[in-house]
Symmetry: C2
C-alpha cells in the first residue's frame, strides 16, 4: 500500500488543522492544457478518452506534473456515464454539448428505467484503480458523480440546457414520474460512488450542476433530498481513513443552511457567494470548497493574486477551507495563470494557519 | 388628465395597504399570445414592432384585454435600444439572439463611447405616450431599462451570453475601461428613464438580467453601484404622485441586503429565493416583486394554484408584495394557464390583506 504523502486536502475537508489552505481546480485536466489536447487527439472522442484507463490516467496526472502545488487529483470522467449506462445513448457532437439518442419523457419509458449493471461502468472503476496506482501516494484521488436532479435534466431533456422546461413541467405535473427517475438514479449513484471508493477514490464529490435552477422548495424535494440519500448510503471509510464527501450545487448559495444538514463533510461554493458570509451561515457543520470566479484566471497574475487574497481574508483564520475555482477552469485560461493562482493560494494562505 | 382607476400596483410598491396582492407578468405581451404573434407578423421584425408606436401600443394592451386581473402594463420595448442608439448596430437573427455589428473591446472604441442623443430614442418615448393614452387610466404603465452591467455585457461580447468571459476579463484586467462603459451607460439610463417618466411612465424597473453572474464584490462594484447612481438621478414624482422604482437582479438573491440600501422602492426576485426569507432579510426597507418559476405555468391550473398559494403564505400578511413571475413568461405557456395564475393570485391573496 502506498503511503499518502500529502493529506492536506483530506484534512481540510474534515476541518482538521493544516499548515496552508489546500487547493485543486475543477476540470484541472482539461482543454487549457496543450498536453491534454495532445492526449485527447490520440484518444479519439471524449468518451474514448474516458473509456481508456491509460489515457484517463495520463490526463489526470498531467496537471499534477505541471503544477506541483496541486493538493488533489480528480478522476477524469464525465457525469453522463450513468445515463449512458442506463441505455440512453450518449454522444458528443463537435462544437455542441452532449446529446442522448433516447429521452425519458413518456411514462412507459420512465417506468422501464432501472439501476444499470455496474459492469457497464467498469471502465470508470478501472480508470480509478489505474490513476490511484499511478499517483503512488502523491495526493489523494477524488471520485465523483452528477447529482440525480442534474442527471435527470439531461435524461429528460436529451441534452444540456438552462431552463429545463420539460423536466420542470414533469416536476409540477407528474412528480411521481420524476421521483421514479430520481430514486433510480440515486440508487445508481450510491453503487457507482461506492465502487469508485472500492477502486481507490479517497474522497467523493457530487456535482449538482443544475440544482440552482430550482425554487427553494423544489430544490429540497427534487435535488437535495436525493443527495442526502446518496450520502447516507456511501461507504464511510477506506484503508482505515474517512472518505469525505463534498456536495456542490452550482447556484445554490441561498440554500447553504439546508445543505449543511445533508450529511456532506464539505460544501462546494460557486463564486457568487462571499465565502466569509457562507462560513458564518454554516458554522462548524461543514468545510467549504471554493470559490474564485474562473473568469479571473483570464486576467493577470497580479489581479489573480489580489482576488485570491480577498477570498482568504474573507474566510479568515483556521481550518475547513479547500481553495478551488467556483466552477470548471475555462479552456481559454493561459496555463501560467493557473500557476499564478496556485502560487497565490499557497503564499497568502499560510498566515491563516499558524497555531490553528 | 385620465384618472387612474386601479392603483393597487403603485400602492403595493410603496408598501401601502391594498385589498389584494397586485399582479403582472414579466414579458406579458409576448409570443405565448396568438394575438401578439399576429401583430408581430404585421409589423415585420422585432425592432420594427418596437419602433412603431401604434404596434407597440397594440401589443402592450393585448394582455390587458385578455386578462382583466392584470394590475399593470409594461412598455413593449427591448433593453438593447440603448446600445443600438450608441451606434453599435443591433440586429436580431431569426432563431438566434440579438447581435451587435460592433463591440466595445478595444480601448480606442471604448473611449469614444458617449451618451447618445435622446432624439435617437424618441420612438421609445412616443410609444410610452401612445400606450399611456390608450390605457386611459385602466392600470399604471411601467417604463424600464437594462442595467449598465447587463447592457455592458452585450456591448462588450457583441451578443447574449452566460459566462461573459470577455467582459469579466476587462473587469479584472482593465477596470478603468469597463467603468467608462458603465458610467456612460448609467448617465444614459438616467436620461432614458426620465424621458419615459416625462412621456407618461408611472413606475420604472431596472432589469439587471446578468448581475447574478458576478461575484459578491464584483456585483457591488460593477452592477449595484451604477444602479444606485441611476436611482439617485431619477425623477421622483409625476402628476403629483411618486414614481416607484423596482430593481431586479436575476440571480441576485444572495445580495438582497445591499440591494435594499440602493434607494429602490422595490426589489424584483427570481424564483430561486423563498420570498418569506427574502422579506425577513429586507425588513420594511423595500417592497418585493415576484416570484413564481415561469416553468410552473407549463403545468396545470391545480399545480399553479398550489404554487401561488405557497408563495403567498410564505410572504405572509400585509402589504409590500407585487406578485409576478421570477422571470419572463415562456413562449410555450398555454394562455389559459396564465389566466389560472392571475385568478389564483387574486383568490388566495385577499385573506392576507384584511385590516392590514
Amino acid at each position: 500500500m502506498q503511503v499518502l504523502q500529502n493529506d492536506t486536502f483530506l484534512k481540510a475537508l474534515m476541518r482538521e488543522s493544516t499548515s496552508y489552505t489546500p487547493v485543486w481546480m475543477m476540470r484541472q485536466a482539461g482543454r487549457y492544457l496543450p498536453e491534454y489536447k495532445a492526449t485527447r487527439q490520440d484518444a479519439g472522442s471524449f468518451m474514448d478518452l474516458c473509456r481508456n484507463a491509460q489515457f484517463a490516467t495520463d490526463v489526470t496526472l498531467q496537471p499534477l506534473d505541471r503544477y506541483p502545488l496541486l493538493d488533489a487529483a480528480i478522476l477524469f470522467s464525465d457525469i453522463l456515464t450513468i445515463p449512458d449506462a442506463m441505455g440512453l445513448g450518449l454522444s458528443f457532437e463537435a462544437g455542441e454539448g452532449p446529446r442522448f439518442e433516447r429521452t425519458l419523457q413518456h411514462e412507459a419509458d420512465i417506468k422501464k428505467l432501472t439501476v444499470p449493471d455496474m459492469a457497464d461502468l467498469q471502465y470508470v472503476f478501472n480508470a480509478v484503480s489505474s490513476i490511484r496506482k499511478a499517483l503512488n501516494g502523491r495526493v489523494p484521488l477524488i471520485g465523483f458523480s452528477g447529482s440525480p436532479w442534474t442527471l435527470a435534466t439531461y435524461m429528460v431533456e436529451g441534452k444540456g440546457g438552462t431552463d429545463f422546461l420539460t423536466t420542470k413541467k414533469m416536476a409540477y405535473t407528474r412528480p411521481d414520474l420524476l421521483h421514479h427517475i430520481l430514486e433510480t438514479t440515486a440508487q445508481t449513484v450510491i453503487q457507482y460512488l461506492n465502487a469508485q471508493i472500492e477502486a481507490g477514490a479517497q474522497a467523493v464529490m457530487i456535482f449538482d450542476s443544475w440544482g440552482g435552477a430550482l425554487s427553494h422548495n423544489a430544490y429540497i424535494e427534487f435535488s437535495l433530498n436525493y443527495m442526502k440519500k446518496i450520502i447516507a448510503g456511501l461507504t464511510k471509510t477506506a484503508d482505515g481513513r474517512k472518505v469525505p464527501c463534498v456536495m456542490f450545487t452550482k447556484g445554490g448559495g441561498l440554500w447553504l443552511e439546508a445543505q449543511a444538514e445533508s450529511g456532506a463533510d464539505a460544501l462546494g461554493l460557486d463564486w457568487t457567494i462571499d465565502i466569509g458570509l457562507a462560513r458564518a451561515r454554516v458554522g462548524s457543520k461543514v468545510a467549504l470548497q471554493g470559490n474564485l470566479d474562473p473568469a479571473v484566471l483570464l486576467s493577470t497574475p497580479a489581479a489573480i493574486e489580489k482576488e485570491v487574497a480577498n477570498i482568504l481574508v474573507s474566510y479568515g483564520e483556521g481550518s475547513g477551507h479547500v481553495f478551488n475555482l467556483g466552477h470548471g477552469i475555462t479552456q481559454w485560461t493561459p496555463p501560467e495563470n493557473a500557476a499564478a493562482f496556485l502560487e497565490a493560494v499557497r503564499k497568502h494562505s499560510q498566515q491563516y494557519h499558524i497555531n490553528k
